[in-house]
């Protein structure tokens, strides 16, 4: 079955069964390995991408539901191949990346948060991250990064 969607601004069509998780389609059909999968339970958040302006756990999102949708993944975040986005730079500057396997999901969650709420308070940042597990960093660098970008924007 063919499914048409827009991923990082590019129109794509994939020929897969309807219940293929979007995460698998992104990774295996479209080569967008930036989206990670850590549980297939909707609980780790490594697979979070933005669909039509809202974050979803792409491991639990059947590709057929993304028909015609606008999907954004970590690969679409940087300003260019030279320049990272402010948030990407900030998580590196604040030590918010260690093993990095949670990072794509964290970046998508925070990107979406900052787009909908440009100046979140610390507790809002932490709440927004409650579905993104990071086993390495203790979250401190991640939260500081988000707040620094929010501060810059306000």
């Amino acid at each position: 079955m063919a499914h048409a969607l827009t991923v990082n601004g590019r129109d794509v069509e994939v020929e897969v069964p309807p219940f293929y998780p979007l995460a698998v389609v992104l990774r295996e059909e479209l080569g967008l390995i930036g989206t990670k999968t850590g549980c297939f339970e909707g609980r780790c958040g490594a697979c979070v991408v933005i669909v039509n302006g809202r974050t979803v756990a792409s491991c639990l999102y059947p590709v057929a539901l993304a028909e015609g949708a606008v999907v954004r993944t970590v690969e679409g975040l940087a300003d260019s191949d030279e320049r990272l986005s402010d948030l990407q730079r900030a998580v590196l500057e604040h030590g918010g990346v260690q093993c990095g396997v949670c990072t794509p999901g964290v970046l998508m969650t925070l990107t979406n948060l900052l787009e909908t709420n440009p100046a979140p308070a610390e507790d809002e940042v932490r709440s927004a991250l409650s579905g993104n597990l990071c086993r390495c960093t203790g979250y401190q660098g991640i939260v500081e990064a988000a707040l620094s970008v929010a501060g810059g924007a306000s």
């Binding site: 549980c39 990346v97 093993c99 203790g138």
Partner: protein
């Protein structure tokens, strides 16, 4: 900008990680690879009465099915007790029984379903108590015939027995004013790296080439070769980006099966654990029971200390017999204890094998020791901090095994912590159900050896070739290149680091025990210094200057104070190429032996501290007496790191370690019921979220180590260790009742309050 020691130099893998282009084990694929899957036992104990794979092999797309018949050998880090696939007996739920490889994931799954497996259940020895009972069934009836690399004592269902005796314990207890006893119980704790274990194997030219997400490529090489019965050099391990380890990726797990499937099918094979398989197949930190008794005088001097640790090994030994040897060092530690009598028993059970997790048994030995210290202090009516100050190690004191300790930073740590969070003040502003706790620990830096080489490239940059493995800590992505850059006067961006590859680089003892900066760092420093030597010689020649007047900075060699007399490292490298050959250096390092009282301990191969570091943690908590919820109001860490090499990386390790400790202390719990794993997903196995993080103050101390590079010690492992103890002491203080088991869930707290 030239990088210096002490800078927060950035991660060299950072950009790829935030762009999503870093290639992890789960992302790594080889052309035309097959999907592998493992058939695992659904029962914890039984005899295989039928295993028929004949239908599975007929499924279209299935290219290989393997069972114990294909790989009869056993392997073990210490005791050679574990097969790749269960042979006739199944010893834990999740134990591999067969593996398949097929063109598609669905075909592989269909093949698994087509295997006919019948298991006749055996009595389940699901707990240590059951396995240790008089006349209990032997988990390994042939245990005596298993080879044991270190000849450590074993007996039936006891996979290892460690004993330590020093001084006259009976006299100490006879003389004491008080004998204070405690028993503690702790749960299993899973590493739960977000990237599961995964590998891709191929068979070429008679060798196995395996790309795997591991922390210790050489151990996986040796183990895989051991299982397969081939020479270690017949296995090549290459490590893609690793998505977290924490000890869970030290030993071979999927690699031997993948290797075998690749050989049988003639195609590359990829095996990935599901999250459920991650939980089922181990190797979590073991559940354990700790019993302690101290003989003390009325003014709080400890005359003698008796202790026993029971560690659940699960079905197979793994690294655990080595870990067990560390118990007396960690439990009979921190304080001058007088006479010591200690026994640790490592017990085989019908449960998934346990294994190393950051801090290994120190997390709970420290929990027991520091809860016990509070108990003694309270019992004697001595302030808990004061009790510690009276007894804690100072320079010249001896460890449990009689090692003389120098550079002990405990008193310093307690003092510095007090400047941040004054102890007397804590009592004064306490509300009901608020409490405070401290916990101290000494910790060891793993001293497995390392080698490395550095080459100066013809453009003046440097390449570090090492099998030290980056698992997220920054030790390889920040620290090692920082050492090279600082030595050669380069930018952080001017040092490239090779992937770990057992064909390419010298032996390395793995990303464990905080050793990468400590041991690999010293080897790298040696290699970089050789390069530096060659550069200085060549530059002196070229600049007609005295070698001693030269400095390396900003990518050039120059005469100090005469900036016009300089030559670029690129020019040096190119000139040297034809004068003497490429500029390249090698370094190697092993830790000098440490003397101790060799007669006092049996069953242990970890008898002394190397790169000992000192830590004090403080937790301030509030308990809701109606719901049992524990809120950590504030947390503080004073940590001796030897020498601050990269402050940002250190801070990240402390935050991350403390939060893992918070999970361990408050809710992470891998529960088993009659050998059946109850918590096999993130739905019930609770990892800390961003909401569970308390505010943390960090104080760094620098008690330089005589061996570590620039005086550095291991940093990353220890921050998890005292957390459970500090929190449990604080909660006990808050509710006025002892908390002697973890996790301290709201249920435990309410139970304690209502008891």
């Amino acid at each position: 900008m030239t990088v210096a020691i002490g800078d927060s130099s950035p991660r060299i893998d950072g950009e790829a990680k935030v762009r999503g282009t870093a290639l992890y084990g789960i992302d790594y694929e080889e052309p035309h690879y097959l999907h592998g899957k493992i058939l695992r036992s659904t029962v914890p104990a039984g005899r295989i009465t039928k295993l028929d794979t004949s239908e599975a092999v007929k499924i279209p797309g299935v290219l290989a099915v393997v069972t114990a018949e294909d790989v009869p050998g056993r392997w073990g880090h210490v005791t050679v007790d574990q097969p790749v696939f269960a042979t006739d007996v199944v010893r834990y739920e999740g134990e591999p029984i067969a593996a398949v490889a097929a063109e598609t994931w669905n075909q592989a799954r269909a093949a698994l379903r087509a295997i006919v497996l019948e298991i006749e259940p055996l009595e389940v020895l699901g707990t240590m108590q059951e396995a240790m009972a008089e006349g209990a069934r032997l988990l390994h009836p042939g245990w005596e015939s298993y080879r044991n690399h270190f000849n450590t004592p074993r007996e039936g269902n006891l996979a290892a027995i460690v004993d330590l005796r020093r001084g006259d314990i009976d006299a100490a207890f006879a003389k004491a004013n008080h004998v204070i006893e405690d028993e503690f119980e702790v749960q299993r704790h899973h590493q739960a790296s977000i990237e599961p274990r995964v590998c891709t194997a191929r068979f070429e030219n008679g060798r196995y080439v395996i790309h795997t997400s591991t922390q210790w490529p050489f151990n996986v090489r040796d183990g895989t070769a051991g299982y397969l019965g081939v020479r270690t050099s017949d296995v090549r391990i290459v490590v893609p980006t690793v998505g977290g380890g924490f000890g869970g990726k030290l030993i071979p797990t999927l690699e031997p099966a993948a290797a075998l499937l690749a050989r049988r099918s003639g195609r590359p094979v990829k095996l990935v654990n599901t999250r459920k398989e991650e939980f089922l197949s181990g190797c979590p930190r073991e559940n354990a029971v700790v019993r302690v008794a101290s003989a003390v005088t009325s003014d709080g001097e400890i005359l003698g200390h008796r202790s026993e640790v029971l560690m659940d090994n699960g079905a197979y030994g793994g690294e655990q017999p080595v870990v067990a040897g560390l118990a007396p060092l960690m439990l009979c530690s921190n304080y001058r204890m007088g006479a010591i009598s200690h026994t640790t028993k490592l017990v085989y059970t019908n449960t998934p094998p346990t294994g190393p997790f950051r801090g290994v048994l120190a997390t709970y030995c420290n929990f027991a020791l520091e809860r016990h210290a509070d108990h003694i202090a309270n019992e004697l009516g001595i302030d808990r901090r004061e009790f510690r100050l009276r007894n804690i190690y100072v320079d010249g004191d001896e460890s449990a095994t009689g090692q003389r300790l120098e550079g002990v930073a405990f008193s310093d740590a307690l003092e510095r912590l007090d400047e941040v969070v004054p102890w007397p003040g804590l009592g004064a502003r306490r509300h009901p159900y608020q409490g405070v706790g401290i916990a101290c620990t000494v910790w060891n830096t793993n001293s497995m050896p390392s080698g490395a080489s550095v080459k100066l490239n013809e453009d003046g940059t440097a390449t570090l070739i090492s099998s030290a493995t980056e698992i997220g800590t920054g030790a390889v992505a920040q620290g090692l290149p920082q050492i090279v850059a600082a030595e050669l006067g380069l930018d952080a961006g001017d040092v490239v680091v090779s992937r770990p590859d057992t064909d390419l680089a010298a032996y390395d003892g793995g990303a464990q025990g905080g050793r990468t900066m400590f041991m690999a760092g010293e080897a790298v420093l040696g290699a970089a210094r050789e390069v530096r030597d060659q550069v200085l010689d060549a530059a002196a020649l070229k600049l007609e200057a005295d070698r001693g007047d030269l400095e390396l900075a900003d990518g050039v060699a120059r005469v100090a104070g005469a900036p016009d007399r300089q030559v670029s490292l690129a020019a040096v490298a190119r000139a040297e190429l034809f004068r003497a050959g490429p500029v390249t250096g090698a370094g190697r390092h092993t830790h000098p032996p440490v003397s101790f009282d060799t007669g006092c301990v049996t069953g242990s191969v970890m008898t002394t501290f190397t790169g000992a570091s000192y830590h004090v943690h403080l937790a301030e908590v509030e308990v809701d007496p109606e719901t049992g919820e524990v809120t950590i109001l504030r947390y503080a860490v004073a940590q001796d790191v030897g020498k601050i090499l990269n402050p940002q990386a250190i801070r990240g390790q402390i935050y991350g370690g403390v939060i893992q400790g918070v999970g361990y202390a408050l809710f992470e719990d891998l529960r088993l019921d009659e050998g059946i794993c109850l918590d096999w997903g993130f739905a019930s196995y609770r990892l800390p979220t961003a909401l569970d993080v308390p505010p943390i103050d960090v104080v760094l101390l620098e008690a330089e180590d005589p061996v570590g590079p620039h005086g550095a010690k291991g940093v990353a492992e220890a921050p998890i260790i005292p957390v459970a103890a500090a929190i449990a002491n604080a909660v006990s203080d808050a509710i006025g009742k002892p908390i002697n088991s973890i996790p301290i869930t709201p249920f435990t707290v309410l139970e304690a309050l209502n008891a």
